[in-house]
Symmetry: C2
Subunit: 309 residues, 2 copies
């Protein structure tokens, strides 16, 4: 039997949040519903955050209320604080995704908290979910490097992972927030975290900012990672790198793993069909390659001079 | 000491040959001269082919006569037949790159020869170079799949490699001509060829058609490959897949390997500076990512609210 890979589709949250235009709520719901029928394991549907901080996701509650839940899909919401956690729990999400930054400066820039301040808040947020069936994931931004500070020592990541495990999270996502990771680094850190915390569900979140998204995903899989965040069309990205690619592209990631003989659970044709709707939805071309080139199994007709024999 | 990687820059040939517009000969010479100063090991400068078949490279002789040779760079020309080999030898190339297709239909479409017919011609072409210091490489197109036939059995590749080795070629390039390869396949075939032919200088040539260019290069390096074809800016590509990426991008490949701690011999800043001139040269944007995003070591200023403390 082929080894199973689990895809967490983050385009509705990580992709849409930085788009120049607000995607209307019914279109978001239609996108999530279409993704729900592709076989992805999870969908990060929205973020319960301040509408002032992220106006594009101001409709989080309406989105969660409007989607048609698929029994095989876990619906995740990113929550930056207690208020967000309360709203997400009230909306009936399957998973809360807490977020902190590994580097002080990125934490202060993005969340106005150092990692240690974030960890202190997490205790209260996790307490809110206690007794429910909602699982808790924590995403560690700038795990593989910080755009302000540069290198983040692996020892710091391991310290944060240890603290999160002690708080009782179910899973942790190692995030290459601005596409700074390289395959060597991904391999070494993933192996180390897996060895120390075999009890955690580990996910890799990579961006394609320097073109290494699939190479880093490959390196992580070789190290034992089987859960991946990815964004349809390669939406998302880093506000610091205009013109650069965004998150690793879901359909390109699924295509790579499927051609390698792995089982992503995803119906790639269905996913590609949803990906084809993206440019109209967001108003611009998107980076995904397979939707333009077709699967590698695609065949072309022989040129006439050869076909004639 | 860091492990050495050798880059063969193919943009002047594989990149420019399919561009919509003819790049003027002085611009080609300036491009090759600029690339010569970046530390790449080889440059595939042109192809000595019929001007009717590839009008963009009709100036092969003038290009070779016009460039300023760098002593550390080997200048390669692709040659499709005896006439091309004679012209390339007269022009003083350092290496002849012979080309054949692994699949019958691609060979007939592209060269009007099956692989076995190509091999018969190679004997004469190699005889022409005998006694000179010119080395002989053979590129095997459609090694990882044929856009007309689909899968190409590994046994056929191994048979062709064996035949080429018997003819006395110095090196062989395994070419993923239309970007059909996946990392699993690249890994398996590269390991197999290296094991059977440790005497050959093996090169991997991949395209980024389905976004897997760097992942395939990573897999090949893990299998023991240290020589790579790549095209500045990710130029080149497949006429069958409009909108898709072209060859794996030189500066993105160098960036990946350098961040992994390997030594490509390339001055990445110099290579990026040449890459920045490409859009003006070819008249359109190119796929390379690092030139847009900057190296992963790039730092950004702290937002004001954080910098104020």
């Amino acid at each position: 039997m082929a080894q199973r890979i689990f895809i967490n589709e983050v385009a509705p949250r990580d992709g849409l949040q930085i788009e120049a235009r607000f995607v209307p709520t019914p279109d978001k719901i239609a996108l999530i519903d279409a993704l729900s029928r592709t076989g992805v394991a999870k969908i990060e549907a929205t973020s319960f955050t301040s509408p002032k901080a992220i106006p594009n996701l101001a409709d989080a509650g309406d989105v969660m209320a409007g989607i048609t839940r698929h029994e095989d899909v876990d619906y995740v919401a990113l929550v930056p604080n207690e208020r967000g956690a309360e709203r997400a729990l009230a909306a009936g999400v399957d998973e809360l995704n807490l977020v902190l930054s590994a580097s002080d400066s990125h934490g202060l820039a993005n969340l106005r908290m150092t990692p240690w301040q974030s960890l202190a808040r997490f205790e209260h947020m996790i307490a809110l979910a206690r007794g429910s069936n909602v699982s808790i994931n924590a995403s560690i931004s700038t795990t593989f490097g910080c755009p302000f500070e540069g290198d983040v020592p692996a020892s710091r990541i391991l310290e944060i992972v240890r603290a999160l495990a002690a708080l009782g999270v179910d899973g942790i996502t190692l995030c290459d927030t601005t596409g700074m990771a390289n395959p060597q680094q991904v391999s070494a850190l993933c192996k180390d975290v897996i060895k120390r915390h075999p009890e955690l569900l580990l996910t890799l979140h990579v961006h394609d900012t320097r073109g290494m998204g699939l190479a880093n995903a490959l390196a992580a899989w070789q190290a034992g990672i089987i859960r991946f965040d990815a964004a349809l069309g390669g939406l998302g990205g880093c506000p610091f790198a205009p013109g650069a690619s965004g998150n690793v592209c879901s359909e390109d990631l699924v295509h790579m793993f499927e051609t390698m003989g792995l089982d992503t659970g995803v119906d790639l044709d269905a996913l590609l069909a949803v990906a084809e709707t993206l440019p109209a939805l967001v108003g611009h071309e998107v980076p995904g390659q397979v939707v333009k080139a077709g699967r590698s199994s695609r065949r072309y007709p022989l040129p006439a001079h050869v076909a004639r024999g």
